[in-house]
Amino acid sequence: MAASVVTAARGWSGLLVGVRSAVLRLPGLTQVRWSRYGPEYQDPQIDKEYYRKPLTELTEEEKYERELRKTQVIKAAPATRTSSVFEDPVISKFTNMMMKGGNKILARSLMTQTLEAVKRKQFEKYHAASAEEQATIECNPYTIFHQALKNCEPVIGLVSILKGGHFYQVPVPLAERRRRFLAMKWMITECREKKHRRMLMPEKLSQELLEAFHNRGPVIKRKHDTHKMAEANRALAHYRWW
């Protein structure tokens, strides 16, 4: 949802300047999440390299921007964002989605164990492979993770639309972030539900990530099923009005 600022939260000033109107794309849904920040608040600049550039190297625009930022109000940086070189927004998002009951420590440790498991499995394969194959084996757990999630993203999605008293599954184009969300959601659900009781999450997740990286496995299958359903319900596409 687009984070739109509701003026009611800041008291009616009578001015509607700065209200970002959200496009309500889905019928019957109202804006429930908004941020306390007004539109004049700028996002924080966390990148260390931005501040390390010496003044002489800046272009005119950048100098102007820096001066401007000195006068503007800036939002507080969230606790999850760090200036570490090893930070990855996709990994952070995935960790948050895996988290249950606010237990970020556990979620993060599961994530790191998964990455380690992926790495060890790939190393094993690497040492066992011949020289030509070694060039094709990818050992970096981060590239595997990103590629696997990209492979799991559906191109087209289905949405329930109420028409004439019945709900129809209508094929609909998905936004970039919705696709990423669905890929991560399917991955996590698959790993939570379809594993043996005694198998641990990192092990299962590393297995699924490696399979998705090679474009096989249950999550890819689910993506293909979604595509097939969308193809089958092609005729209902005109029920969509946006």
Partner: protein, 397 residues
């Protein structure tokens, strides 16, 4: 001239034996490797109360090049000197299996499996210990060296005094309890580590196991070990006999005995084991612990005792305690009293560089930012130069 040496822990440098003390990363165990290069072999009895920590070996640096390369080709721990500090040296898999059949930290075992090689870093405390061992006077009572380090990281369950599944009333002494499973495992490992010695040492007393079986005086120690492995009920007693014989005979000078115990603070603490009526058991009532305590008393000659105290295996002690006195408690400290404490600190910058270099050589650090200066500075900060933490960080990067 083949003097046999029994080494429980760090090998004695006698007769050119080289053993390397390996400082385990972050963990508490000093494991010495017996290097089978020279005549005379070592009997390796490793007892570990807590898990031993994986030693992180860094490769040696070639002396000619100014930049510290992390590997060294000097694989003989006895020959390690000042110039090898911070470098990794390789241990062959054969040696690893014989010298450390048990008791390697699980993370080290995983690392060995992943890299297909076992490498350890030569660190200053190890060099110090080697120096002491080289200059030991074997006519004096055995000297005790205690390793301790700050900021231990891993939680390891104490092998002997915690989570023991079966306790039997001792066959030898009714007041004490046996631990058949652990004792038989220990005996098996002892056998693997010290095969060639077992036939050469003879027992000096007759031991009667039960109505039908007994070990005569003068039969080789191997028989006692076999008896313990076969008859699991008597395993703890067999282990006790082995220790007693070794101690008695090492004073005669036939071989040198090196006793290495990891997590010796477990021998004097409390246990989590209970009797059937839920009353707690003190360590002295466990027969194996009782025998081990007799081993580390320095009333015998002809060897050395190397111990480590670790917070991770210790029960009922505050988390920040790392000094020997705190971890051993009053009783333990009095029992071990004249000992040489050796502090194992975190990596110094050279060792840290060496460690990172080793990982880079093995392609272990896969994250592209880890290769940069920024990444290294961050690793330094996050791990606080602690070897265990560094290993854990690099595992997922």
């Amino acid at each position: 001239m083949a003097t046999r040496k029994k080494k429980l822990t760090p090998p004695l440098p006698e007769a050119g034996h080289s053993s390397a003390g390996i400082m385990l990363k972050g963990m508490t165990r000093l494991i010495s490797r017996v290097h089978k290069l020279d005549p005379g072999r070592f009997l390796h009895i490793g007892t570990q109360a807590p898990q031993c920590l994986a030693a992180h070996l860094d490769n040696q640096v070639a002396i000619e090049s100014p930049r510290a390369i992390s590997r060294t080709s000097e694989n003989d721990p006895a020959k390690h000197g000042e110039q090898h500090e911070g470098q990794h040296y390789n241990i062959s898999f054969q040696d690893l299996k014989t010298v450390f059949p048990h008791g390697l930290p699980p993370r080290f075992v995983m690392q060995v499996k992943t890299f297909n090689e076992a490498c350890l870093m030569v660190r200053r405390p190890a060099l110090e210990l080697l120096h002491y061992l080289k200059n030991t006077n074997f006519a004096h009572p055995a000297v005790r060296y205690v390793f301790y380090f700050c900021s231990p990281k891993f939680k390891r369950s104490h092998l002997w005094v915690k989570n023991c599944r079966d306790l039997l009333q001792s066959t030898y002494n009714k007041q004490r309890f046996d631990q058949p499973l652990e004792a038989s495992t220990w005996l098996k490992n002892f056998k693997t580590a010290n095969e060639h010695f077992l036939s050469q040492i003879k027992v000096q007393e007759k031991y009667v196991w039960n109505k039908r079986e007994s070990t005569e005086k003068g039969s080789p120690l191997g028989e006692v070990v076999e008896q313990g492995i076969m008859r699991v009920r008597n395993a703890t007693d067999a282990a006790g006999i082995v220790l007693k014989e070794l101690k008695r005979q090492s004073s005669l000078g036939i071989f040198r005995l090196l006793v290495a115990v990891d997590g010796v603070n477990a021998l004097w603490g409390r246990t989590t084991l209970k009797r059937e009526d839920k009353s707690p058991i003190a360590p002295e009532e466990l027969a194996f612990i009782y025998n081990l305590r007799k081993m580390v008393k320095n009333d015998w000659q002809g060897g050395a005792i190397v111990l480590t105290v670790s917070q991770t295996g210790s029960l009922f002690k505050p988390r920040k305690a790392y000094l020997p006195q705190e971890l051993l408690g009053k009783e333990g400290f009095d029992a071990l009293d004249p000992f040489i404490p050796i502090l194992v600190s975190n990596y110094n910058p050279k060792e840290f560089e060496s460690c990172i270099h080793y990982y880079l050589e093995n392609n272990w650090l896969q994250h592209e930012k880890a290769h940069t200066e920024e990444g290294k500075k961050e690793l330094l900060f996050l791990s606080n130069r602690n070897p265990g933490q560094l290993e854990r960080l690099c595992a997922y990067l």
